[in-house]
């Protein structure tokens, strides 16, 4: 289970410490507040626990700075500077809970990931592999045919999260019967999608009583439910895994949002640590209404302080969330509407 992240002079962040909920983590904030950057860093830390890549290399691949110069991820300043990232997690060692961390530091002149400094308990990190999945805003399922081979053979300019999500989707089905909890989640999704997902020759189809529909013909919202279905069905999202989802609300109508939130909360109850970013009132309200007191939820609000530095404030209740960029925007809209209605009265 991921415990916290610490950043110093990394991309948009001057200094940031953020502790995670072991369950659901909902990150909000205006555009340019680094929500996606946080997700990518957490994902990179998770992914290196199961791959041969170094932390620096993975970060470089998921951020893809210009010329793949990792030093460009250090927060820009006039003079030379260094930046660092620390991601920590709790693991069980000999029956004891232990916190281990992975650190990366580099200067803005560092060109290659191999020249960046990596420290921390990397060996223990890999001894406790952490299954993770990062769902980017843009759907990739419809573009899956041929993408994987193209990505591995040619140097194409795609952040690695796009190739990774397709890899996760193509993992084979788990052996043995589907357990009760996963089956109930699959049933909820099947009801919303009115079918289930099958793949053939690197192509995904929604199989319903009406026939088989290729993903390119499906609404993007349904593709998202389809992806969730695949990840649950193939066992990627199991107890102890980590799901990172950038703006789940993209292309979802409010009815599907209800299903997505229901699934995310249920995954959290089954032991999946979930991280999402959001700009959407309906989605957050769904969480607010569906979570129960026993659920482990934290809302993290990223905002800029008076000096324009990024800060974070965390809350367990949506109503307490402050600053709330989404509510502030709705409030500002309401203010403009009132002004239009009332003219100069009350000024």
């Amino acid at each position: 289970m991921l415990d916290h992240i610490k950043l110093e002079r990394f991309t948009a962040f001057e200094k940031l410490n953020l502790s995670f909920s072991p369950g659901l983590n909902i990150i909000i904030g205006e555009n340019g507040c680094g929500k996606t950057h946080l997700l990518k860093l957490i994902y990179a830390a998770c992914d290196v626990s199961t791959s041969q890549k170094s932390f620096a290399e993975k970060i470089n691949r998921v951020f893809l700075p210009s010329g793949e110069q990792i030093g460009r991820l250090v927060k820009r300043r006039k003079n030379s500077s260094t930046g660092s990232v620390e991601v920590a997690r709790k693991v069980q060692v000999d029956g004891q809970t232990k916190t281990i961390a992975l650190r990366l530091s580099m200067s803005n002149h560092t060109k290659e990931p191999a020249k960046a400094t990596i420290s921390g308990a990397f060996k223990q990190w890999q001894e406790h592999p952490l299954t993770s999945v990062y769902i980017p805003v843009k759907d990739m399922m419809a573009n899956a045919p041929g993408f994987r081979s193209l990505y591995s053979l040619r140097h194409i300019h795609f952040e690695e999260v796009y190739a990774d999500i397709i890899d996760r989707a193509f993992l084979g089905t788990l052996k043995g019967p589907t357990d009760k909890d996963r089956k109930s989640l699959l049933d909820i999704l099947q009801q919303s999608m009115e079918g289930k997902v099958i793949s053939r020759n690197e192509e995904f189809f929604l199989k319903s009583p009406q026939g088989e529909l290729e993903f390119t013909l499906l609404a993007e919202g349904i593709r998202k439910l389809g992806l969730l279905w695949i990840l649950i069905q193939n066992g990627t999202l199991l107890d102890g895994s980590v799901l990172l989802w950038d703006e789940p609300e993209a292309n979802l109508n409010p009815k599907l949002m209800r299903t997505v939130v229901e699934i995310l909360i249920e995954l959290q109850r089954l032991g999946v640590q979930v991280f999402i970013t959001s700009h959407n009132y309906n989605l957050l309200k769904e969480f607010d209404l569906q979570v129960k007191t026993q659920d482990k939820v934290q809302y993290h609000s990223l905002f800029r302080d008076a000096d324009r530095n990024l800060q974070v404030a965390s809350f367990t209740r949506y109503d307490d969330l402050q600053p709330n960029a989404i509510d502030d925007t709705l409030g500002a809209l309401a203010d403009r509407d009132i002004r239009q209605q009332m003219g100069e009265l009350g000024q």
Binding site: P254, R258, E262, Y281, N282, K285, E286, D288, L289, Q290, D327, L330, G331, L333, A334, D335, D337, I338, R339, Q341, M342, L345, G346, Q347
Partner: protein, 175 residues
């Protein structure tokens, strides 16, 4: 001019008059006397150029009205019913107050535009959804194809936070 109602105190500097509309005591200076037949908004404020009707609803469970974010069909139906009831109450309070004031105004006194302000403890997202519905139902503006005048020229739903931002000159505080 300060006036209190339903746990809030309002201040309307420069107002000609501000009073609780539905006064129940027979000896009250503005005894309503028709509470058995007509609904009434909480406050009426006479400004030099406009009249404000103000209705206050301080909810204990605002989410009971959030039908758009209901988790089940049953919950959605119950919440929709709550919203319909709320709309019904707000609309009838406005219309009955409007009729009452028309009837009590001496002939020859000109109309002033009426503006309806509903102070509700709902969140910003919900206010926007409900406000549109209330404006259509009242209705606000030149709504009817044959209308030559308006019942109300504007209608706004606000929570205390929006009131403070939108009306810096009309202070509001909880008492």
């Amino acid at each position: 001019m300060k006036i209190q109602a339903d746990g809030f105190e309002f201040d309307f500097p420069g107002a000609l008059d501000a009073y609780v509309f539905d006064q129940q005591a027979k000896i009250a200076p503005r005894f309503h006397g028709l509470s058995h037949a007509m609904k009434a908004v909480d406050l009426v404020v006479e400004l030099p150029t406009d009249t404000l009707f103000i209705e206050i609803k301080d909810f204990h469970a605002p989410d009971d009205y959030n039908f758009k974010a209901a988790t089940t069909a049953d919950q959605q139906s119950k919440r929709r019913q709550s919203v319909n009831h709320l709309m019904n109450v707000l609309v009838h309070k406005f219309r009955d107050t409007w009729l009452y004031r028309w009837s009590e105004r001496p002939e020859g006194v000109p109309d002033k535009p009426v503006r309806y302000l509903c102070l509700l403890t709902l969140d910003n997202g919900l206010l926007g959804v409900l406000n549109k519905e209330l404006r259509q139902t009242l209705p606000v503006g030149m709504a009817g194809p044959r209308w030559q005048r308006e019942l109300g020229v504007s209608c706004s739903m606000l929570n205390p936070q929006r009131w403070a931002t939108a009306f810096p000159a009309w202070t509001l505080r909880r008492i």
